[in-house]
């Protein structure tokens, strides 16, 4: 079965299932609003200054909201043991991984756009000063975040204590990505996103390495 077609079929099925199931996407979107309100009371924050610590705070919320979504990306395969049916089919397993990766990527980007809008509305974050820059940065971060998030989610299918283990395994690995994201958010407001910026190159390197390695490892990770 042709590789791209398989990715497309699994992708479409997942999107249909996620939209009909709604629990994952709604709970992560809601979580973002919840975190902003909590932070407002916790640190008495009335405005988010993206050029200072506000940026790091935003990415922190995105890590947690993204986790809520990506942790359950294989939940539909756990019901009725459907994951076995995917392994049975004569398809390349990297294609299944990449389809799930694109689903996480799309929804993660939606989460981020929503969060940027919320932070603008509630805290006047200077999101619209350079929206395009932020979007490019978000896409760069989402690739790495979804690549690892999807792989670790697949590792923990039907595993005991998976909901506890998931953040513990994922977060230490994401440190370089989110250090770069926080640093770049602060700098994108002043100067434009230059390719020569070492942080940007770190993000791109991170994305390439973990997308490639994950799709290779997915095959051996899921085999019984």
């Amino acid at each position: 079965m042709n590789f791209l077609k398989v990715i497309f079929f699994v992708f479409i099925k997942d999107i249909k299932d996620e939209l009909r199931r709604k629990e994952n996407i709604l709970s992560s979107l809601f979580f973002q609003l919840l975190s902003l309100v909590l932070i407002h009371f916790a640190v008495d924050m009335t405005s988010i200054d993206l050029s200072k610590e506000g940026a790091g705070l935003m990415w922190l919320i995105i890590i947690f909201a993204g986790t809520i979504f990506m942790q359950n990306i294989f939940r539909k395969e756990e019901e009725n043991g459907v994951f076995l049916a995917l392994l049975l089919a004569p398809v390349d397993r990297a294609a299944i991984y990449l389809a799930k990766f694109f689903v996480s990527f799309i929804f993660l980007t939606i989460l981020e756009v929503f969060l940027f809008f919320l932070s603008f509305f509630f805290f006047g974050a200077a999101v619209f000063d350079s929206p395009l820059q932020l979007l490019i940065l978000a896409i760069g971060v989402n690739v790495g975040f979804s690549a690892l998030g999807t792989l670790i989610s697949s590792l923990l299918i039907n595993q005991k204590g998976s909901s506890i283990l998931y953040p513990l395994l994922l977060y230490p690995l994401l440190f370089p990505l989110f250090a770069a994201a926080a640093a770049l958010t602060q700098s994108t407001l002043k100067s434009s996103l230059a390719f020569s910026d070492p942080w940007l190159r770190l993000i791109i390197l991170f994305d390439i390495i973990f997308l490639a390695v994950s799709s290779m490892l997915f095959e051996s990770a899921v085999e019984e």
């Binding site: 079965m1 077609k5 079929f9 009725n80 076995l84 089919a89």
Partner: protein, 239 residues
């Protein structure tokens, strides 16, 4: 003419850490035949069935499909003609019956998809439930959808792991009839079960596994004969 062997596995072993689930099992599945694989729980029946379905990797030993070892791109070719059914239904609860069948038909790259889906749905009485969410189906209905899904790619090798578990008598009889009709047209069917009931009548030959070893293999004469042989190994009350 000598019956054609579709699937053969030789000296299959499987280790789980120090425990050895399969201790060198040889098995032949003949065309147009239903083989029953029986044994107590933990004899390694399901493990062997999963290995035949390439869902689990054997520690050592070989599997042959039409006398060629299943390796490299033969894996995909074998998977195209493979059907596997277990007590799990492999159904997406949030998709409708049609969406489920459509997805798997796409995955298997079935050419005349529309007719094929219509055909399996009608043969299992699912047409009227076509647009209903699969999660709302009864156990029997889900079993029928699951069987319909398995037969989508017209498999020549059909592996069924405890297919009769949890079915009411009429569904049981129904399934047994379907299987006996299916075995024609160059198909081979393997049924893994640990119960001896009326469904055994449809068997052509049967194999008994005990603690990961094949202890008996023979053609099927009668339910009595099978029961006595079975109890010989598992110390039940003799008829």
């Amino acid at each position: 003419m000598k019956e054609e062997i579709l699937v053969e596995c030789s000296h299959i072993e499987k280790f789980y850490g120090k425990k050895q689930a399969l201790k060198g099992v040889d098995l032949k599945l003949f065309a147009n035949k239903i083989t029953f694989l029986m044994g107590e729980n933990g004899a390694g029946k399901s493990t062997l069935c999963k290995i035949l379905a390439l869902l689990s990797k054997e520690s050592n030993g070989k599997i042959l499909y039409k006398r060629r070892e299943i390796k490299g791109n033969l894996r995909d070719e074998y998977k195209k003609v493979l059907g596997y059914l277990s007590h799990q239904t492999f159904i997406y609860n949030h998709l409708t019956a049609l969406e489920n069948l459509n997805f798997f038909a796409n995955l298997y790259g079935i050419t005349n998809k529309k007719e094929k889906i219509e055909q399996v749905m009608s043969s299992f009485g699912l047409t009227e439930y076509k647009n209903q969410i699969a999660g709302t189906f009864s156990r029997g209905l889900q079993q029928r959808l699951s069987l319909a899904r398995t037969l989508l790619n017209d498999p020549t090798v059909l592996l069924l792991d405890e297919p009769f578990a949890g079915l009411d008598p009429s569904a049981l009889y129904n399934l047994a009839q379907i299987l006996s009709e299916l075995k024609t047209r160059e198909r081979t069917i393997l049924v893994v079960t640990h119960e001896i009931d009326d469904t055994v009548e449809i068997a052509d030959n049967f194999i008994i596994l005990k603690q990961g070893r094949k202890v008996f293999e023979d053609t099927f004469y009668s339910k009595e004969n099978l029961k006595n042989t079975y109890f010989e190994f598992f110390g039940g009350v003799k008829q």
